[in-house]
C-alpha cells in the first residue's frame, strides 16, 4: 500500500490543517483511495469552502420557487402544472487547456444537471470571455470553444439560443466558458438526489468509466502556470450521442415511478454523486467497484472513484424494479449495472476484488468540509467621470461607427450561426435580441432567457457591478415583454486567498443581493469558479448571471428591431451621463477608468414594471435597453435589426457626447405608433416615469440632430464584419 507522505497530501491539494481534520475524522491514516476522495470532496470546486459563507446571504426564495440552490439545478413554477429547471455552470479551466472538449463537456454536464431532475432540456445559453482579440491564443480558443458548444448542443438536438461574449486582456490566460441549460418538467414530477430505502439497489447507467478527467475538480481549484498544458489528460472527452441516448432513456424511465433518487456524475464523478446522494438522504451506501462498467482493464479503485468520464448517472431504484429499468437502458444501448445498495450505516463502503478498499463516514466528510472566512479588503472606489470631464470628440458619427464595430459590440452572428438555435421548433426569438424566447411546447407561453454581466464594472466597483449584472438580466427579460422570475449565477473570480480578490467576491455578492431583493428576483442555482489566475494575474471579477422570465402569451412579445416608418421613438428613464468605465472611454481614449454608471434599483423596478405593462397593453412596437456603448449604440442596434433609420432629436442638459455614449442604467428606447402616445404618456405621468419623445422612425439613415447622420447600411457593415474579419485569418496550429 502506498504510504501517505506530506508530498502526496500536498499533491492532492489538501493543506496540512485539512489533512489533520482527515485524520481526526477517520481516527487513522487514509489509504490512497480515501485520500483521493477527501481531496475531491474538499476541493474548492465541490465544497465551496471559500464562498459558502457569502453565498448563503443571497435571496433564494419566492412564492414561485419550487427548489432553490443545493440540488442539481433550481426549479421554478411557470403555471399550468409546469416547471422550468435551470442552472449555469463554468468549464473554464478545461476549456483553456482543450477548448473543443472543454466547452463541449461543459455543455454536456449542465444538460445532465437539468435532465437529472426530470426535465427535458429546451434551451442552452452561454457566457464566454476571451482575452484580447489580438492575443495569439484568442482565435484558437474562440474557434474551439464555439465548435465545442455547437458540437455538443447541436447533436443533442437542444437549441443554443443565445449568450454573451466579451474580450479583455484580463482573460488572456484564463478564458471563461459558462454554460446554461433550461429544461421543462411537470411540477409534480421533479426528481431529487436524496438516497432512501435501506436495501434499495444503487444503479450505474450510461457510458463506461475510463481514465479521463481524473482530478478535474482539483485542477479547477488551482491556479494556472506555464505547465498547465501538461494537464490536458485531466480534460474529459465528450460523447453527445451517448448523452442523447442517456437523456431519452432517463426520461423514459422517469415516466414510470421506479426511481427513488438520481444524480449525474459530474465533477468528481462517482465520488461526489454517491456521497451527495447518501449525505442528502442521511444513509450509507455500499458499492462493489468490480461491477462498475469499465472502458479499460486494470483500473484501480482510486481511478474508478475519481474518473470524470462523461455521460454517466447514478440512481437508487425501488426494490424489484431493476429489470424494468434495465430493459429501457438496453433498448437505448447503454450500460446498466446494479453496483451496490443503500444501507443504514451512514458509511460509504467500497469493495473491489473481494476486499474493502475504502470505508468512510458520509456525513462528516460531506458536511465537515472546511469552510473558510477568508480575509478580504474592499475595492477602493473610483471617481465618477461626468460628461463635462471628457473632451467632446470632433466627429460623433465616427465614434458611433467605431463603437458599433468594436470587439464588445460587434455582431456575434459568426458565433450563433454555428449553433443550431431552431431545433425543437419553439424558438420564437432567435439570438441577437435582448433575450431569447422559447415557446413552452404545445402552449402559447414563452420563456425569456438571457445571460449578462459587465466585468469591467465589477472590477471598478464590485458592489455596483454585481447589482448591474442582475439588473441587466432583469432589464433584458423585461424588454422582450416577459416577467423576470429567477436567476442562476456563475461566479468566476481569481484566487480567493488574496484579500483583494476575496473583496471582489464579497462586493459582487452584496450588489447581487441588493438587486435580487429589490427586483424580487431570487437565485435558484449556481456555481463558483475560483483560482482563475495565471502566473498571479487574476481575471476581472465576473459574476455571470443567467435569468429566466415568463410571458403568458408569445403574441405579445417585443423585439428590438425598428418596424414601422412613422412610429415614435421614446426614451424611458433618466440619463445621468456618467462616463466612467464606458466603452467610449476605452475605445476612443484608451482609458479603462472611473466609477461604473450607477444603478438605482428602486427606479429600475418602477421603470421596468411600467414598460412591461405597456408591452402587455400591446402598444409597444419595439424595445431595447441602453447598455454597452450608450444610447447611440442602442438606437443603432434597433435600426440595424429593422433595416430602417430614424430621425432623433435630444432635448438634454448633458453634453451631446455624454447623452449619446454614457452607459446609463435603467433606461430603455421604445417605439410606439403615434396614435398610442397619449395612452403611453398618460400612464407614465400617473406612475411618475421619465419619458421623452425623441424622434420618429424612417428613411435609410440614423440621424441625430446636431450630432450625426450615418446610413444604416454602413453601420451594418462594420457591425457584421468585425468578427468574420477577426476569424478569417487562418489559425496556424
Amino acid at each position: 500500500m502506498t504510504e501517505i507522505t506530506q508530498e502526496i497530501v500536498a499533491e492532492h491539494g489538501l493543506t496540512p490543517d485539512e489533512y489533520t481534520r482527515v485524520l481526526d475524522i477517520l481516527g487513522r491514516e487514509p489509504n490512497l483511495t480515501e485520500l483521493g476522495i477527501f481531496s475531491v470532496m474538499w476541493s474548492e470546486h465541490c465544497s465551496y469552502k471559500s464562498s459558502k459563507k457569502w453565498l448563503k446571504t443571497l435571496p433564494t426564495e419566492a412564492p414561485w420557487v419550487i427548489c432553490g440552490p443545493g440540488e442539481n439545478a433550481g426549479v421554478i413554477d411557470i403555471g399550468d402544472g409546469q416547471a422550468a429547471i435551470f442552472k449555469m455552470e463554468s468549464h473554464n479551466h478545461p476549456s483553456f487547456i482543450e477548448p473543443y472538449q472543454g466547452a463541449a463537456t461543459g455543455v454536456g454536464g449542465i444538460m445532465r444537471d437539468v435532465f437529472t431532475m426530470g426535465a427535458r432540456p429546451i434551451a442552452n445559453m452561454n457566457a464566454l470571455r476571451f482575452g484580447r482579440p489580438d492575443h495569439p491564443k484568442t482565435r484558437h480558443l474562440l474557434s474551439g470553444v464555439v465548435s465545442g458548444i455547437g458540437g455538443y448542443g447541436n447533436c443533442m438536438g437542444v437549441p443554443t439560443v443565445g449568450g454573451e461574449t466579451n474580450f479583455h486582456a484580463s482573460y488572456d490566460g484564463n478564458i471563461l466558458v459558462n454554460a446554461m441549460t433550461v429544461g421543462l418538467a411537470d411540477a409534480d414530477k421533479i426528481f431529487y438526489s436524496a438516497a432512501a430505502g435501506v436495501g434499495n439497489p444503487v444503479v450505474y447507467v450510461g457510458s463506461k468509466t475510463g481514465r479521463d478527467g481524473i482530478h478535474g475538480a482539483t485542477m479547477a481549484s488551482a491556479e494556472f502556470d506555464n505547465d498547465s498544458e501538461e494537464k490536458r489528460p485531466t480534460v474529459q472527452v465528450g460523447d453527445p450521442f451517448t448523452e442523447k441516448l442517456l437523456l431519452e432513456a432517463c426520461l423514459e424511465l422517469m415516466a414510470t415511478d421506479a426511481i427513488v433518487a438520481i444524480q449525474d456524475m459530474g465533477a468528481a464523478g462517482l465520488t461526489s454523486s454517491s456521497f451527495e446522494m447518501a449525505d442528502k438522504g442521511g444513509v450509507g451506501i455500499e458499492l462493489n467497484l468490480d461491477l462498475v462498467p469499465m472502458r479499460e482493464d486494470g483500473m484501480t479503485p482510486y481511478e474508478i472513484m475519481l474518473s470524470e468520464s462523461q455521460e454517466r448517472m447514478l440512481m437508487v431504484l425501488k426494490p424489484g424494479r431493476e429489470e424494468e429499468a434495465r430493459r429501457i437502458f438496453e433498448k437505448w444501448e447503454l450500460d446498466f449495472s446494479v453496483i451496490g445498495k443503500v444501507t443504514d450505516t451512514g458509511r460509504m463502503i467500497l469493495t473491489m476484488h473481494g476486499g474493502k478498499v475504502a470505508d468512510l463516514p458520509v456525513a462528516p466528510l460531506a458536511d465537515a468540509a472546511p469552510e473558510y472566512d477568508r480575509p478580504w479588503v474592499k475595492t477602493e472606489p473610483s471617481a465618477v467621470i461626468k460628461g463635462a470631464d471628457v473632451t467632446a470628440p470632433n466627429d460623433l458619427g465616427e465614434v458611433l461607427l467605431k463603437l458599433v464595430g468594436s470587439s464588445e459590440i460587434a455582431s456575434r452572428k459568426w458565433i450563433w450561426e454555428q449553433y443550431d438555435h431552431m431545433v425543437m421548433g419553439d424558438t420564437i426569438q432567435r439570438p441577437g435580441g435582448d433575450a431569447a424566447v422559447v415557446r413552452v411546447h404545445g402552449t402559447d407561453k414563452g420563456l425569456a432567457i438571457t445571460t449578462d454581466c459587465t466585468p469591467r464594472y465589477c472590477y471598478a466597483d464590485p458592489v455596483m457591478g454585481g447589482a448591474q449584472a442582475v439588473a441587466e438580466v432583469w432589464r433584458n427579460i423585461t424588454a422582450v415583454g416577459a416577467k423576470p422570475l429567477a436567476i442562476t449565477d456563475c461566479m468566476n473570480f481569481g484566487n480567493p486567498q488574496r484579500p483583494e480578490i476575496m473583496g471582489q467576491f464579497v462586493g459582487c455578492i452584496e450588489g447581487m443581493r441588493n438587486a435580487c431583493t429589490i427586483l424580487d428576483f431570487p437565485v435558484i442555482s449556481g456555481n463558483v469558479s475560483l483560482y482563475n489566475e495565471t502566473n498571479g494575474t487574476g481575471i476581472h471579477p465576473t459574476p455571470a448571471i443567467g435569468g429566466v422570465g415568463l410571458m403568458a402569451n408569445i403574441d405579445k412579445m417585443t423585439t428590438l428591431a425598428f418596424k414601422n416608418e412613422g412610429d415614435l421613438v421614446l426614451l424611458i428613464g433618466t440619463q445621468k451621463g456618467e462616463m466612467g468605465q464606458s466603452l467610449y472611454l476605452r475605445e476612443m481614449e484608451g482609458r479603462e477608468e472611473g466609477a461604473p454608471p450607477s444603478v438605482d434599483l428602486e427606479a429600475e423596478r418602477k421603470i421596468g414594471d411600467y414598460l412591461r405593462e405597456m408591452i402587455e397593453k400591446g402598444v409597444v412596437t419595439a424595445a431595447h435597453d441602453i447598455s454597452d456603448g450608450g444610447l447611440a449604440v442602442t438606437l443603432a442596434e434597433m435600426a440595424m435589426a429593422g433595416n430602417i433609420g430614424a430621425d432623433i432629436s435630444l432635448d438634454t442638459d448633458l453634453p451631446l457626447h455624454a447623452a449619446l455614449f454614457a452607459e446609463d442604467q435603467g433606461c430603455y428606447v421604445v417605439t410606439i405608433r403615434p396614435d398610442d402616445f397619449e395612452l403611453v404618456e398618460g400612464f407614465a405621468l400617473a406612475e411618475d416615469i421619465p419619458l421623452h419623445n425623441i424622434g420618429t422612425i424612417g428613411h435609410t439613415d440614423l440621424k441625430i440632430d446636431g450630432g450625426l447622420t450615418i446610413s444604416v447600411e454602413s453601420l451594418k457593415q462594420v457591425h457584421q464584419n468585425w468578427m468574420p474579419d477577426l476569424m478569417a485569418v487562418r489559425v496556424s496550429e
Binding site: 438536438g157 450521442f241 450561426e417 454555428q418 431552431m422 431545433v423 424558438t427
Partner: protein
C-alpha cells in the same frame, strides 16, 4: 392519409417533423423505431434530421444499414413518396436512394440560418404548392451539406430535372453569395429518377408559423399531404 417518421438513435428533428405532419394531416404520423423490420401501411415516409449514431464514421452511414432501411428502400422503389431532410438526406444517400454525396461545408463550420431557394425543377407532389418563380425560405442547420456529384452524375441530374431546389438570394439569383455550404450548382435538394424521393438539406418543418418566422414550410407540408391524400 397515413405517414411514417423513421426514428434512429440520435435523430433529433423527429418531434419537429411529427408536429409539422400532424398539423398538415390533422392526425399524428406513426413513429417507427430504426430497429423495427416492418413498416406500417403508409402513404408517405419521412426521414428526419439529427445526428443518427452521432454521425460517427460518416453522416448517415450507420443509419443507412438499420433494419428498417431495407423496408424504406423497398417502399420507395414501389413508389411510396419519401421526404428525407438534412441527416435524413444523408441517410437516404448512404442507402443508395439518391445519388451524390454530402461533404463537409466548404468553410468547415456548422451553419444554422434561414436560406432562400428557387425551384429548379417542377414536381407537383413536392413543390406544387409554390409558384414556379417563387423564392422560398427554409432554415438550414448542418455541418455536412455540401452537395457533390461526379461530372456525369451532375449532368444527368441537371438534364433529367432531378435538381429540386437551389440556394438563391432573396431576389432569386443563384450565385456564390447565396450558397451556404459550397454545394455544386447551389444544389439544396434533389429527386430520385422516379421523382418520388426528395432529399433536401433545409428544414421545412422549422418554418411552419409566423411565430417561428415564416410559413413556407407549412405550405410544403400542406401541399404534400393534399397531393397524396
Amino acid at each position: 392519409m397515413k405517414a411514417a417518421v423513421i426514428v434512429f438513435p440520435g435523430s433529433n428533428c423527429d418531434r419537429d417533423l411529427k408536429v409539422a405532419l400532424t398539423e398538415a394531416m390533422g392526425h399524428e404520423p406513426a413513429m417507427v423505431w430504426h430497429g423495427d423490420t416492418d413498416l406500417p401501411e403508409t402513404d408517405l415516409i419521412a426521414i428526419p434530421g439529427g445526428f443518427s449514431y452521432g454521425d460517427y464514421l460518416r453522416c448517415g452511414a450507420m443509419a443507412a444499414n438499420s433494419p428498417i432501411m431495407r423496408e424504406v428502400v423497398k417502399k420507395a422503389e414501389a413508389g411510396v413518396p419519401v421526404v428525407a431532410i438534412c441527416n435524413g438526406f444523408q441517410i437516404a444517400m448512404e442507402a443508395g436512394m439518391l445519388p451524390g454525396a454530402l461533404l463537409r461545408n466548404a468553410n468547415q463550420k456548422f451553419v444554422c440560418k434561414d436560406v432562400d431557394m428557387v425551384i429548379a425543377a417542377e414536381n407537383e407532389r413536392f413543390v406544387g404548392g409554390y409558384k414556379a418563380d417563387q423564392v422560398i425560405r427554409f432554415p438550414v442547420a448542418h455541418h455536412d451539406g455540401n452537395f457533390y456529384a461526379d461530372e456525369e452524375t451532375l449532368k444527368e441530374l441537371e438534364n433529367e430535372g432531378q435538381v429540386a431546389l437551389r440556394y438563391a438570394t432573396i431576389e432569386g439569383d443563384v450565385n456564390e453569395a447565396a450558397n451556404p455550404n459550397g454545394s455544386l450548382n447551389n444544389i439544396a435538394g434533389i429527386y430520385n429518377k422516379a421523382g418520388n424521393v426528395l432529399g433536401l438539406m433545409p428544414h421545412p418543418e422549422r418554418l411552419i408559423s409566423d411565430a417561428l418566422g415564416g410559413t413556407d414550410g407549412k405550405v410544403f407540408f400542406d401541399h404534400l399531404v393534399q397531393s397524396i391524400a
